[in-house]
Symmetry: C2
Subunit: 232 residues, 2 copies
């Protein structure tokens, strides 16, 4: 392999294309709050995250918002913008916990996707997976309550980031879950009382993975399978 990359999209590219492609990327470290792309705007860069978490968010006119996808090192950001239509969308993407990522100008990647078949095949598969996840979460957002969704989110965040400790306060979690901050406080408090998690001032720890999974809605397992069955 030579160099370690730690982004599953890049690692899935066939050699020798992978190395050529890799040489065109620069690695950056991006703090929480960094906007990777804005809603209704053509992204400036595409990112191949190697660590950390970023959320795709949709905001409404009244300022309320909901996460529509959580992403880390499993793919490319943005994803469906690369499918050949208008490269914009209703969502914006924000770094939640400091991200390390390889970066490439978006239009450059767009052209490369047209040119390179292995790249295009991978982009299509990533977009398909995102759609599947989005499908499940659309129903989840409608049918499941705050505590179940919080448990699901924490488990997914854990799986994606590979850490048991997640740096995120309840206010941001409320935006993500599309709920009030007080609702998150209550849900998180309930999980803490049952000793499934612990937290203090923006640092959340998963204490009991199995029980937390039982407290989460079925959507967690569904989405997890979609991530796991993806690469080989």
């Amino acid at each position: 392999m030579g160099q370690s990359i730690d982004n599953l999209f890049l690692e899935s590219l066939p050699q020798p294309y992978r190395s050529t492609f890799r040489s065109r990327l620069e690695e950056f470290s991006l703090p929480a709050g960094t906007v990777l792309y804005e809603a209704e705007q053509v992204p400036r860069y595409a990112f191949f995250i190697t660590s950390g978490l970023a959320s795709k968010m949709v905001s409404m006119a009244d300022g309320r918002s909901s996460e529509i996808g959580l992403t880390s090192s499993e793919g490319v950001v943005p994803c469906y913008h690369l499918l050949g239509g208008e490269p914009t969308g209703p969502a914006r993407c924000v770094v939640q916990t400091r991200v390390k990522a390889f970066r490439m100008p978006f239009v450059e990647l767009l052209k490369e996707v047209e040119r390179s078949e292995p790249l295009r095949l991978l982009v299509m598969k990533c977009a398909q997976r995102r759609s599947m996840i989005l499908s499940q979460l659309t129903a989840c957002n409608r049918l499941h309550d705050a505590e179940e969704r919080l448990a699901r989110w924490l488990l997914t965040a854990h799986d994606l980031s590979g850490t048991t400790s997640i740096m995120l306060n309840q206010g941001l979690l409320a935006d993500i879950l599309g709920a009030r901050r007080t609702t998150v406080t209550l849900a998180a408090g309930a999980l803490r009382r049952r000793k499934l998690i612990s937290y203090r001032r923006g640092q959340i720890e998963i204490l009991d993975y199995a029980k937390l999974k039982a407290a989460a809605c079925e959507c967690y397992a569904t989405v997890r399978n979609l991530f796991q069955n993806f690469y080989g």
Copy 2:
């Protein structure tokens, strides 16, 4: 044009490919309730709808469900199943109001998408649009109440089907909106009292398009733009 097709996907294929492709399709009429594909299963056929409405639905273990997408003559069904990954997903697709559609064995279309560039480009764009819509509806399902969502759904159904009258009872509407039937009764009753719609036993009429739009959430306009700005 020669033959009238009335499916925007087919009509967007470049000639002479379109005619060749068209000759491989058979047209069918499918009653309400017909399942176009099942969750977690490889579709048997792909459909190019020319009239009528079909819903992509995600159901949970407890039997509750939510629509994740409404489709008619604007594209191909299924859509993201054609992107090259596992051709399944968490949703199933059901005919809501009798559909007329051209049909083709799914695996045959899958091969054709690999072979034919114009077909592939169109599939990718359709999948992208579906993702954009899905993104908006994911947040909508979390943030907007039943009456707003009902108004949005009726308007979208009207736009897609081209009829002011929609044949659908409140029970099915409840499944679609991911709510109880009584909640739909209340929401529909409120819209009727304000003379935005009328209905009786499964037949809903839009009386005042402008006011109904004002009663719907912003997601209606967002999704409508995504449909409109798509072909040319």
